[in-house]
Symmetry: C2
């Protein structure tokens, strides 16, 4: 971790702990501190910046609260690994149920291929090179031989690495991005809508055409908010629901 002493201004009105928090956050976002790497010890940061250990702890505890690092007593403090769920929006009322009952739960690959950029993809990924290639996946999720959801995924294919067997088995978009592009997935946007399913989707999922379904589009970005992955999922409306518990207290 390369930290320059000058960047912390003790006489500033901005609290020291906050300057340090921002400093480390920046290093993580820029990739100078990679997931799994350890931060310097509290003592080391403390003496390097000539600030007290409690102030360092304050900064680190903010990072912990933000989920960017985790601390282990006796070992050290480490950068957390970015975690982007693919099964989105915690649409898992049904998925949880399946797991709890130990039911048969599998992902079936319908199609996997490398395709050339078309107008739609070029727009989505903000690229204009005609030759650009993309990875394209179509999968179906099913439990006990009942089909539950259908998903289409795209990501850039720039490393020309072969697609592994394991990737075909259960292709997760973030891991595909890591494997086949130079980009690092950092954040995502998910949009959930309701829709009447199309003829094609109805056939795939074994439901009546125009049945109500959840439609989730996920866009994955790197640290510069460049689009590096995109997926669209269709979930059977009669098999999924979204539950949230909330409340207690919030500030006015």
């Amino acid at each position: 971790m390369v930290i320059h002493k000058e960047v912390i201004d003790k006489s500033s009105v901005i609290p020291i702990y906050y300057q340090l928090f921002k400093l480390i956050e920046e290093q993580i976002r820029r990739g100078d501190l990679k997931p799994g790497e350890s931060l310097p010890t509290e003592h080391e940061i403390s003496s390097r910046f000539e600030i007290s250990r409690m102030t360092v702890r304050r900064a680190i505890s903010e990072l912990v609260a933000a989920g960017m690092v985790y601390a282990q007593q006796g070992r050290g403090t480490f950068v957390a690994t970015p975690k982007l769920d693919n099964i989105i929006f915690e649409l898992n009322d049904f998925n949880e149920e399946i797991k709890k009952r130990g039911l048969n739960y599998k992902t079936t690959l319908l199609e996997a291929k490398i395709i050339r950029a078309n107008t739609e993809l070029k727009a989505k990924f903000q690229v204009d090179e005609e030759h650009k290639r993309f990875l394209y996946f179509r999968t179906v999720l099913s439990a006990e031989d009942e089909r539950l959801s259908y998903e289409v995924k795209y990501t850039i294919y720039s490393k020309s690495k072969p697609i592994l067997e394991s990737e075909l088995k259960d292709p997760s978009l973030p891991s595909l991005i890591v494997a086949h592009t130079e980009y690092m997935p950092m954040s995502s946007k998910k949009v959930l809508q309701v829709a009447a399913c199309t003829e094609e989707e109805a056939v795939i999922l074994g439901i009546a055409p125009n049945s109500p379904v959840f439609l989730i589009e996920q866009t994955i970005y790197d640290q510069d908010l460049k689009t590096v992955g995109w997926s669209k999922s269709v979930y059977r409306g009669d098999r999924y629901k979204l539950t949230s518990y909330d409340g207690w207290y919030k500030k006015d």
Copy 2:
């Protein structure tokens, strides 16, 4: 705030700040500390329990993080008011848009009456008294004369207080509960589903029958998880979507 000194055990393996955190949390949940009320000052807590102010601050900062309390420099620390959103699940992509553009946004009351308990309500609210009365509201939300969502609300009617003009205008379930029952809304469960809308709903919302809609059922509980309010909302599928930004870092 009634705090007994004995409840904090300095020699316990459980950290003092955590004991204090739990202690104050309990007082808030029990209603001994009511929303808006101020906590004793840090100095006062510190001297009353004979612990350092920094330890008190640690406990309070946990409460702040949990949203149960908020601190104001120069004034004090106050219990936050319970906040249960009625427009649920942040289904507000569209609502936000409306507000941003300053569009005409209004709630229309279709029906408001006091009804007797029927079988369905008795089951939902876990009551068996035949005579029990309930408040019943039916409202429509619209913007620029386009109807967007339809909502049915129920709560217990036990105080026999008249329904105020202001309540008819934009009846919020949590505030109705506070006004007309002895209970205090504390938490809520929301279930979001997709559905094909019924004939009745189609007419009310001005859409085609069987159009896909969001269906949200909200149950409101008091601190003992007793059901004190229930609502069902239907949102036009072509007008609402749910967006969530997430990611960055999470601990493994």
